[in-house]
């Protein structure tokens, strides 16, 4: 067999093995081995064996995850479960201790143009001297390349995105004049301009007004219709089954992942938020100490 010839190939085969198993059980689809390479490149996100640590303390452990195309995915878990870290590791923003992340079967760096990102709203200084339109146009920087000026086309695209989030009238305002919900919409518009196939959003619903929350949900649904995959860090358990059709329950490790109606149940929630939380944290502290 071709794959068994080199150690590298062996790892890949092992990888495919897991992948095919998941597809078999979840989607009830039998996939022939030779088709797997093709299928992997259709898979928006595949994470295998991912561990990330800060200061020698593991934040997430042995994450194995594959997200199918065209789903709205909610990542849910208690505070400190590593939800944001998981997203940041996918985007290559934090160093990985082990494991790999594949975007459409390739490394993040190769496929970064197909990825859109909405960081946590609190991660930036909203007093920064920049206009709403400027922030949204930052979404085009990835395509522009270094040292190129923002073109008229980019600006037109940005205005279009602002229109989609209902902020056209605010285009030339300074960002400090925005309310929390408007700030969040600005970030969403910036991600829309990226015109990506897979979106990562870090707590887009955190402390926004009801109108913004509805607007964001509508936007997510529109993205899904276009066949985009959206992965959202979410903290409000009451809206999970309403917003997301795929759920990842995370608490340092993946407690459960799959279609929301199958995964999002009392038992799994208890395993995510319940007594085992303290045990895991203790173990992590132990490792840090040694």
């Amino acid at each position: 067999m071709l794959w068994a010839e080199s150690p590298r190939a062996f790892v890949r085969k092992d990888f495919f093995g897991i992948f095919s198993l998941e597809m078999n059980t979840r989607n009830k689809v039998i996939i022939k081995e030779k088709d797997l390479e093709l299928d992997l490149s259709l898979q928006p996100l595949t994470i295998r064996d991912l561990t990330v640590s800060y200061n020698r303390k593991p934040v997430i452990w042995d994450i194995d995850l594959s997200i199918p195309k065209g789903y709205l995915v909610g990542i849910v878990g208690p505070n400190g479960a590593g939800k944001s870290t998981l997203i940041k590791a996918c985007l290559d923003l934090v160093p990985r201790t082990s494991g790999e992340v594949m975007i459409y079967g390739k490394t993040y760096h190769k496929e970064r143009r197909r990825v859109g990102y909405v960081p946590q709203r609190e991660s930036v200084d909203w007093d920064f001297p920049v206009s709403v339109l400027d922030v949204v146009a930052m979404g085009t920087y990835g395509r522009l390349g270094w040292m190129r000026r923002v073109s008229k086309r980019s600006k037109a695209l940005s205005m279009e995105a602002l229109d989609r989030v209902g902020l056209v009238d605010y285009a030339n305002r300074q960002i400090s004049q925005l309310s929390g919900g408007q700030q969040q919409r600005t970030f969403l518009a910036r991600a829309l301009v990226q015109d990506a196939d897979i979106y990562f959003m870090d707590e887009p619903f955190s402390s926004v007004d009801a109108a913004t929350e509805r607007a964001i949900v509508q936007l997510l649904k529109d993205l899904k219709k276009l066949g985009k995959t959206v992965i959202v860090v979410h903290h409000d358990l009451s809206t999970v089954s309403q917003y997301f059709d795929w759920t990842v329950l995370l608490n340092m490790r993946v407690v459960s992942a799959g279609p929301t109606e199958e995964v999002f149940n009392q038992d799994n929630l208890r395993r995510t938020y319940g007594g085992k939380l303290t045990l895991l944290t203790q173990a992590a502290n132990e490792i840090a100490r040694n």
Binding site: L91, D92, L93, S123, V124, D125, W146, V150
Partner: protein, 449 residues
């Protein structure tokens, strides 16, 4: 005192030596202003301080090395290279401490800054005891010695300023994103670290070349003050940088010229004082975020609020005494208005005077009764309507308890634009009682006595 002609000569650079010195410091001012803008927004202003203090051991070590190798030790390029190396080492040490221990930025900077400066001073002491070491002049790196600048200094400064200018023009968009949202820049696949290193390298170049002019203690003010001053005037990064460079350049020009009149006055200190003056003036009267403008805006808001409160109080009183039929414009006793809110007499009188001037109410009668004019009634009705729409909106959509709505709405209402009001109106049409312009209040109104 200097003669007028002297002042003219110095200010407009007639004398070769002054021209050189003043032009050099102006270049430095512009470069510092530009880099300072980025440092300020990257929240790394104090990094410049660490860097400048950490240059001192470099200067001393370079001198000792040069002497040991048989040179005269005063080669400027050599000394500045040494300064740059230890300066960068200092920055690296801060980052190392921050990233590998639990000590935060400020403490790490404090440690590195004082230790490196102490080391530098100790090394200078050693040099003075060296038999062959004519160390005289090395202290000028601490306080700066502008008057001693020569053509070669000017050339270096010109080169550095050009570098800074070109990098800013080419990488404006990149630096802006780096300063605003590092994470997003990283997600775009940018090597954020390279950008940071480039920024730091430029700051180092500016700082090191500026050592001679203003000295390592004062250069930090040169990096921070112009940028901080410019921040009060604008909310756009390109203008901020332009203004910051301008303020840096002008401070340098004025400062260096001033010190040329008074031989004992060190230029570095005067420049810093001028830059600080710019900062203080900007802080007070800056057109975007100056204290004065903010005070005026707040005051305006208060007046607007007071006027709205007055009109609404009048409207609600009239509404309360209205017979089932028409709305009658009656005079309302002052005491009844006062009972509607917890406003002081002087404030209330001021609001009334103002409303009177605007033609919203008629001049108060002898007994202190107040009567709305026709325009005033329209205005009051409109305001009451907006207010109630907002209250209803809160109740409808945000589950805010009825008892709490009034206070909240008071504040938010004043920032509501016409646009939002319109959308509220359409959303809340069902609440409008038929035939009446102003919907009823969603909660019982407590009328004052």
């Amino acid at each position: 005192m200097p003669e007028l002609a002297d002042i003219w000569n110095v200010l407009f650079l007639h004398d070769y030596n002054t021209r050189l010195v003043v032009l050099s410091t102006m270049l430095l001012g512009c470069a510092c202003g530009l880099m300072g803008g980025f440092l300020l927004l990257r929240k790394r202003s104090l990094m410049g301080d660490t860097l400048s203090h950490a240059t001192l051991p470099g200067v001393a070590l370079a001198f000792m090395l040069a002497v040991a190798l048989g040179g005269d030790g005063k080669s400027l390029h050599f000394l500045l290279s040494g300064a740059a190396i230890t300066g960068l080492l200092g920055c690296w040490a801060v980052l190392f401490i921050r990233n590998n221990t639990r000590i935060k930025d400020d403490a790490a900077m404090g440690i590195v800054l004082s230790v490196s400066f102490g080391t530098g001073v100790a090394l200078l002491g050693l040099i003075q005891n060296m038999p062959e070491g004519s160390s005289a002049g090395l202290e000028s790196f601490i306080y700066g010695k502008t008057a001693s600048m020569v053509l070669s200094d000017f050339r270096i400064l010109l080169l550095v300023t050009l570098c800074v200018l070109v990098c800013t023009l080419l990488l404006f968009k990149e630096f802006r994103l780096l300063c605003f949202d590092e994470g997003f820049a990283g997600a775009l696949g940018w090597r954020v670290r390279y950008l940071d290193v480039l920024l730091l390298a430029l700051v180092t170049a500016v700082t090191v070349t500026g050592l001679q002019a203003v000295g390592l203690i004062l250069i930090i003010s040169f990096l921070i003050s112009p940028a901080a001053a410019a921040r009060f005037w604008t909310n756009q990064l390109d203008r901020l940088l332009l203004l910051s460079a301008l303020i840096g350049g002008v401070s340098a020009w004025l400062g260096a010229s001033l010190s040329a009149f008074f031989p004992r006055l060190p230029a570095g200190a005067v420049i810093v004082l001028v830059a600080t003056t710019f900062f203080i003036v900007s802080m007070l009267v800056g057109s975007e975020r100056g204290l004065l403008i903010r005070h005026l805006r707040l005051k305006q808001l208060k007046i607007r609020m007071g006027r709205q409160h007055l009109l609404r109080a009048l409207y609600e009183i009239l509404e309360g005494i209205r017979p089932e039929g028409d709305f009658v414009l009656r005079a309302v006793p002052l005491i009844q208005i006062r009972g509607r809110r917890t406003w002081t007499d002087s404030h209330l009188r001021a609001y009334i005077r103002r409303a009177c001037k605007e033609g919203l109410i008629e001049t108060p009668t002898f007994d202190g009764s107040i009567r709305l004019t026709k325009i005033g009634l329209e205005e009051a009705a409109l305001m009451t309507r907006n207010h109630r729409l907002w209250e209803l909106y809160l109740i409808e959509y945000a589950d805010v308890a009825t008892s709490r709505v009034d206070r909240d709405a008071d504040r938010v209402e004043h920032v509501l634009g016409e646009e939002i009001v319109k959308s509220l109106e359409s959303k809340l049409q069902t609440y409008q009682s038929a035939g009446s312009l102003v919907p009823n209040s969603p909660h019982p109104i407590v009328l004052g006595d």
